[in-house]
Amino acid sequence: MTTDAQATALVDVDRVNKHFGQLHVLQDINLKVSKGEVVVVIGPSGSGKSTLCRAINRLETIDGGTIKIDGKLLPAEGRDLARLRADVGMVFQSFNLFAHKTILENVTLGPIKVKGMKKDEAEKQAMMLLERVGVASQAGKLPAQLSGGQQQRVAIARALAMKPKVMLFDEPTSALDPEMINEVLDVMVQLAKEGMTMIVVTHEMGFARKAADRVVFMADGQIVEDAQPEEFFTNPKSDRAKDFLSKILTH
């Protein structure tokens, strides 16, 4: 990687370590993501990929190393951290829509409370985003009244409403029924095409092939491979990756 690319890295994870008790879940992780890049992180469960994703907006603390977003070091706590998190969109496996608020309120809450946007302006923006992810007709409902796929699309709209510099997806389709996975992936592919910087933890190889610029393969807390999608899927270098791919691609 050239020094030029390092200078422009939007997300810069540098020698990050984390332990869960005895378990060394992140071992000297280095990852640089440039603006507009879509990086898919795959790997067996327990490999640390979700932890890495959550560490990038400090939902998980780290024991060592540094994480920079757009050149700024992640603050430890307080208002500075909150401000930085506003620039990092996060989509969770279990959607985590605010259960007591309507779909529209879910999307307007951040812009109003964090960015100080006026209510009608925030609502106009929210309706546009909901339109874009195809759930505008559900705006007045509560999250529990929507299907999983619809909820996840609202969660994407909620994150986009903050106009983030980078979007993190932590297994966004793993909790969905099979027939709903594509409606969420379509939104994500669209987002990638529009140039959003994305880090996506997923098991969806189709998405990785279609939309990713890079595939990062993690196993046992380490980044084992970091390659172009086509190269990774057709010609994986490590045995660990070969083994993983053979298990998921056979059926």
């Binding site: 208002r79 909150a82 996060m90 985590n96 259960a99 509560l142 909620r158």
Partner: protein
């Protein structure tokens, strides 16, 4: 019936004072209890410690002693003088707030952790994610225990009678001075309490229906 009708003045002032004690103590206990519950889940260790200390000391003290302190100890401290009524409200609020705090804290624990994470992820600081996302959902989950706390408070107001506050619990004593049969007086007092508690239960049902959270 005569016991009630002949001494209506006693009953009305008595229950009026009971209701004043109850309403003010309930409101202050709710506010203070919410603050203490927030302290107990705060990321700042000193806040957590202070909240825990307050709950453990006050909750472990018998209510009679708390009121004793405010009726007899407080005037000796040289602080601004307060009426027995105010002292009773302060004592009842401080005491009840510990129970409110624990009820709310158990409610906070029922809110899935993902809700707070999502709130933090869109950039809300701790205080706002608690106030806008976690507490509203926690309150809904604790309506039944919260009303048990308030029903207990309503009945605890009678303890204040022992400290010169002329509320419902004092009616009986005054009645016997007037030469009325003690048992009839007591039964009437008990009946009014049953009615008041019943009204609280209706309020509880109303809130439970209104704030049902669909998951």
């Amino acid at each position: 019936m005569n016991t009630l009708l002949n001494n209506l003045d006693l009953f009305t002032t008595g229950f009026q004072n009971t209701l004043i004690l109850f309403f003010f103590s309930a409101i202050f206990a709710l506010i203070l209890g919410t603050i203490v519950a927030a302290m107990r889940v705060s990321p700042v260790p000193a806040m957590r410690a202070a909240g825990t200390f307050y709950v453990n000391t006050v909750r472990n003290t018998p209510l009679t002693l708390v009121l004793f302190f405010f009726a007899l100890g407080y005037p000796k401290l040289g602080l601004p003088e307060i009426s027995f009524m105010t002292a009773a409200i302060v004592g009842l609020s401080l005491y009840t707030a510990t129970y409110v705090a624990e009820a709310i804290r158990s409610g906070i624990n029922t809110v899935p952790v993902g809700q707070a994470e999502a709130a933090r992820a869109i950039g809300l600081p701790f205080s706002q994610s608690l106030r806008l996302i976690v507490l509203p959902q926690a309150f809904r989950a604790v309506i039944p225990p919260m009303f048990s706390v308030f029903i207990a408070l309503l009945k605890n107001t009678t303890v204040a009678a022992g400290f010169s506050v002329a509320e419902a619990g004092a009616i009986r004593a005054n009645l016997s001075e007037r030469g009325e049969p003690a048992m009839a007086g007591l039964l009437w007092v008990a009946l009014v309490f049953v009615v008041l508690v019943f009204l609280l239960s209706l309020l509880q049902r109303y809130f439970e229906n209104k704030w049902k959270v669909a998951r």
